[in-house]
């Protein structure tokens, strides 16, 4: 493979992996704090992307303006979804809680896809921003992708700093590690869980807008992203942002090279097969992450 093509594919993979990592952050935080595996997580990305594309088509606004338009309602939706449907399940036994969570989030996935498909059409869409090209030697990159990459880096660092230094960010980590310990420090666990669920939803909405800037979106593509995000947090560790970022980048790069060297149709298989292999090879490593 010529070097310039190698770099091009690598950069594509990094971009894709960065977006995957953003999706995984939300899933990981929510699972860590609230022990909810939100099967509709990736579908939130899909509908965010679809609606962002609609807004762009109708208004032609700058994507930076569209992001808050999408993120604020999705954040609010996430909060209400958790408060109204998921939080009441906590009083059940473990198995019944799992069943309730799975049914509610999967039912929501089906509803969101179908309603979005009905309202906005089932076809693939994107946000076709026009962008200058950056040329370094034989490598050609649109500036828009560089901005997206920069955005992902900034978001990741901001999230990391927030969790490390902000009082509420620390409270979220505390609830993840020891809910009782957090309660006796004065943290309101129920509020922390609902806000984290909302924040996770908002984060995936940002990822949705960024995704639609580069790749086509449709209302039904969400679940495959949830699968990727799950693989990423299994590899990177629950609540571990750095781990999720590395795992996300590796997955994105692996998919980009699979698509280029073999065939794009095999790229989505990597995450599931990787997941199953990891489960066979490192059961103990996994078990130690499952501190439930």
């Amino acid at each position: 493979m010529p070097f310039d093509i190698f770099v091009q594919v690598l950069l594509n993979g990094i971009l894709l992996g960065g977006i995957y990592a953003l999706v995984a952050f939300g899933l990981s935080l929510v699972y860590g704090v609230a022990h909810i595996l939100n099967i509709a997580h990736g579908t939130l990305l899909a509908i965010s992307g679809v609606f962002a594309s609609l807004v762009y088509m109708h208004t032609g606004w700058h994507p930076l303006l569209i992001i808050p338009m999408i993120v604020v309602p999705i954040f609010a939706f996430g909060y209400l979804f958790h408060a109204g449907l998921l939080r009441p399940l906590a009083s059940r036994g473990k198995h019944d809680e799992t069943i309730g969570t799975v049914l509610i989030t999967t039912g929501a996935l089906i509803m969101m896809s179908d309603i979005t498909g009905f309202a906005a059409g089932t076809q693939q869409r994107n946000i076709p921003v026009r962008s200058e090209m950056l040329e370094i030697g034989d490598i050609i990159l649109p500036w828009s992708q560089i901005w997206i990459l920069g955005g992902i880096v900034i978001l990741t660092i901001a999230l990391h700093l927030y969790l490390k230094y902000a009082w509420f960010g620390r409270a979220v980590r505390a609830v993840t590690q020891d809910p009782l310990g957090a309660t006796i420090c004065g943290v309101n666990g129920a509020r922390a869980r609902a806000l984290t669920f909302a924040a996770g939803s908002g984060l995936v909405a940002v990822a949705g807008v960024l995704y639609a800037l580069v790749y086509p979106v449709d209302p039904y593509m969400g679940f495959s992203l949830t699968v990727r995000a799950f693989t990423i947090i299994v590899v990177g560790g629950i609540g571990n942002l750095a781990g999720a970022m590395i795992a996300g980048l590796l997955l994105g790069v692996a998919e980009a090279f699979t698509a280029f060297l073999w065939s794009p149709k095999w790229a989505p298989a990597i995450s599931v097969i990787l997941l199953l292999i990891i489960l066979v090879v490192f059961p103990r490593g996994l078990a130690s992450w499952q501190k439930t």
Partner: protein, 581 residues
């Protein structure tokens, strides 16, 4: 309701369904056909969830694999019967393969990983287009087979119900329910987990595979997006949960209801059908944790209550020796024989060393008290001996055999029984079933029938004689502890580990318990290690005291010697005791 009535109703219902193609048109027959397929899917799924407690969201993958195996072979000219056999075989094979990674997971992780299998299958069906014709799908030669397919799936549905009934009453089924209630306790009770789990998944997948094959035959067209559709995949699951997972008739009732809702929607709506189905699924998840059949108004309804009844093993005639005598064969006591030896056993959690270089020897027929302050490592030591943990260093020998690397069920079969500090009976099962599970899967290895029949003797022995058919979750703390003792004894152990039984008991109750401990040793030759805080209880019966502090043995001596030991008094009892004397 008499015993014959359910059978009569079932036969009548089966005949009624069987007569559908004769008097109703093909439209109605096709609907009933589809309902039966869904029922087979829902019911076979519920063996894994309702009986074993594993939420498998990938059940539809086996259905699709069965359909593809059938269609691929049929289009290549293979006769019909081997094609159906292939549907079963490949469904089962796929289940066996995924068992290995999937059963390393539990709870929501398991659920999610199984769900990921469905899109993987869709992808494979799309990509191996040489075999599957990719997204075009496979069209079978046009054949009007609704009638034979109808009777075939009716037979399969009846078979599915029979298997469910068998599961609810067989030894195999009780292993699954023990796993569902408490997997770790089930393993310590002697149930080897993986074969049971894998066998159940394979069984359920073979039914799904056949259902898929029949569906493909009848519909004569299959494609990746219809066979592995996520929305479709959840319908039988939601149906089973709507009715009541784990109940004999739950999946049937739930699936009929769900399919009726679906039919009503199909005829009335042109758009947003999936959204309404999704909404129904959300509402089931939010409001019906136990399903409709567990609702109070049904359980208390004079006519409908039989629907929600749980099916249990039926005991034909109580049995076993009369009086206080337990049906255990007394073991010859050889006071020289070492039953248990720990050689430098160490166990650490992170930086916290819970058991530190412990060496001790227990001889046959001894009653040994194991004491020490909270956190001194007593329960961790029990967990090492019963195989819940493996020692980081050092060895543990039972009858001279190193068991450091044994699984808990293997250790149980060597004759180690135990109770738990916080009692862990199988909560959803009755007193009788708890004891019978201990007996049929433990070292004694008697049949389930025999174990069920003699369970009453063990229950009576620990004072639960009148509560045989009560569910364990309804017992008081002390009764649960008594039940655990009965469950452990029923397994016919050589060495019994008793973890804190006396706290919360009255003086009279303690005296009874002490008598039992002595009796167990004197009459049946069972060696006992007893962890206890209530000193007066130990004082009455133990030969020897082992004292742990911070994970290490600080004293190992006959009772009265140990109680005069200055170190023991200061670490465990405090000087106050010496002064109080």
């Amino acid at each position: 309701m008499s015993r014959a009535a359910p059978l009569a109703i079932s036969v009548a219902a089966a005949l009624l369904v069987a007569s559908v193609p004769a008097f109703a048109g093909s439209y109605i027959s096709a609907i009933v056909f589809a309902m039966m397929i869904s029922f087979v899917m829902a019911q076979s799924w519920d063996w894994v969830n309702g009986q074993m407690g594993y939420l498998n969201l990938g059940h539809y993958a086996f259905y699709g694999i069965g359909a593809y195996a059938f269609a691929i072979l049929l289009t290549r000219g293979v006769p019909l019967v081997p094609c159906f056999a292939a549907g079963i075989f490949f469904g089962a094979l796929a289940a066996l393969i995924v068992s290995f990674p999937l059963f390393r997971l539990k709870g929501d992780y398991f659920a999610f990983a199984t769900l990921a299998v469905v899109p993987l299958c869709e992808l494979l069906a799309n990509n191996f287009d040489g075999l599957t014709r990719g997204s075009d799908g496979i069209t079978l030669p046009p054949n009007y087979v609704l009638i034979p397919a109808f009777y075939m799936v009716l037979t399969l549905a009846i078979l599915t119900l029979c298997v469910t009934l068998w599961l609810m009453r067989s030894r195999f089924g009780y292993a699954l329910r023990a796993i569902r209630n408490d997997e770790q306790v089930a393993e310590v009770a002697g149930i080897r987990l993986f074969p049971f789990k894998a066998a159940t998944l394979v069984l359920s997948a073979s039914f799904a595979g056949l259902a898929g094959a029949i569906q493909a035959w009848q519909f004569s067209y299959i494609a990746p997006n219809t066979m592995f559709n996520l929305g479709v995949a959840l319908v039988p699951i939601a149906g089973a949960l709507l009715g009541g997972s784990g109940l004999l008739l739950g999946p049937l009732v739930g699936m009929v209801l769900f399919a009726s809702i679906e039919q009503a929607l199909l005829t009335k709506m042109t758009h947003l059908r999936d959204a309404v189905i999704g909404l129904v699924i959300v509402l089931i998840g939010r409001f019906l944790p136990g399903g409709i059949l567990r609702a109070k108004w049904i359980a208390n309804h004079p006519v409908l209550s039989w629907l929600s009844r749980e099916s249990h093993f039926e005991v034909k005639g109580e049995g076993g020796p009369a009086g206080e005598r337990l049906p255990l064969s007394p073991q010859p006591v050889n006071a020289e024989k070492v039953v248990l030896a720990c050689e430098g056993a160490t166990m650490a959690f992170g930086g916290n060393v819970a058991v530190n270089n412990v060496s001790l020897t227990i001889r046959q027929g001894e009653i040994v008290g194991l004491v020490g302050p909270n956190g001194s490592g007593k329960t961790t030591l029990f967990n090492l001996v019963s195989g819940i943990y493996r020692p980081k260093t050092g060895r543990i020998l039972i009858d001279g055999k190193d068991i450091s690397q044994f699984r808990a069920d293997e250790i149980s079969h060597l004759g180690i029984g135990r109770t738990y500090q916080i009692p862990r009976p199988f909560l959803e099962l009755t007193v009788r079933e708890n004891i019978a599970i201990g007996r049929t899967f433990g070292a004694s290895k008697v049949s389930l029938e025999e174990a069920m029949r003699t369970a009453g003797v063990f229950a009576a022995y620990v004072g639960l004689g009148g509560l045989l058919d009560r569910k364990a979750e309804l017992l008081s703390l002390q009764q649960k502890k008594a039940l655990e003792l009965a469950r452990a004894l029923a397994a016919e152990p050589k060495l019994l580990l008793v973890d804190e039984v006396a706290s919360g008991l009255s003086t009279v109750e303690i005296a009874t318990f002490v008598k039992h401990i002595r009796d167990i040793r004197d009459h049946y030759g069972i060696t006992i290690i007893w962890v206890e805080h209530i000193f007066s209880a130990l004082q009455q019966v133990v030969d020897r005291l082992i004292v742990l502090d911070s994970g290490a043995v600080i004293a190992d001596a006959p009772l009265h010697e140990a109680m005069r030991n200055e170190k023991v008094l200061s670490t465990y009892l405090g000087h106050a005791s010496a002064e109080a004397k």
